[in-house]
Symmetry: C2
Subunit: 112 residues, 2 copies
DNA sequence: CCTAGTACTTTGTAATACAAGGTATCTTAA
DNA sequence: TTAAGATACCTTGTATTACAAAGTACTAGG
């Protein structure tokens, strides 16, 4: 048991939410997403992200288009589907509710 | 893919944190914890909680004492060890950092 | 071509939440 | 005294999924 495992656990739950949110702002490809998450200290590795993107696509929340790159192989640029946008809105609510619940449960005041 | 799965996912990451926090406020037994979590809309079932309490105890974060009940079999009342208290403090920080990271990542403003 | 860099994919493993069922203890009431 | 119901704790099997590590494929530059 160490704090890193806890951090990893907490991250898991919000990964999909953060990824959908990142994609909602701009068409991006995997490396962009990794960099954005890294900047936000939400560390994720390739082997986690790629299967997750595939899953979200198969669930109809994402779509993508191939785009040529001037510095390597072509990239998959992801965007939100209409369904993805609706889902993201629900996740916004879910996240806010979770924050409220956790802050309430963990508040120092015993009788709350 | 449905929003319930997402909620469940998000809950997972903070379960240990909430449970340690609940125990830090008062000596409680499993049913107390379940009720507190339920009140906070952090639904958990027995089959999840018991193994988790055992794990936290084996990791040295919790201890317990048996106490007779006037309305059924004896109960295990859990308390935090010194190590558990320290760990809880680290989790407080970890949770705050996560909230900051997620809110940052999912803010509507593209350039933040 | 060969090497280095970039991008995407796959495979195996470990962790763990949950559903469902099980065991043990205690109280109550006939 | 015993059967039924309630309470409390525990176990097993399954599915999900993050991660590490290794693999495949494409491009550019010398």
């Amino acid at each position: 048991m160490n704090i890193e495992r806890v951090k990893s656990q907490m991250r898991k739950g919000v990964l999909e939410y953060c990824i959908l949110s990142i994609i909602s702002k701009d068409e991006v490809y995997a490396s962009d997403i990794l960099q954005t998450l890294k900047d936000a200290k939400l560390i994720v590795v390739e082997g986690t992200l790629y299967p997750l993107l595939t899953r979200l696509k198969n669930d109809g929340l994402l779509n993508y288009r191939w785009e040529e790159s001037t510095s390597g192989p072509p990239r998959k640029y992801y965007g939100l589907t209409e369904m993805g946008q609706k889902f993201l809105q629900e996740m916004d609510v879910t996240w806010q509710e979770l924050v409220t619940s956790v802050n309430h449960t963990t508040s120092k005041n015993k009788n709350q």
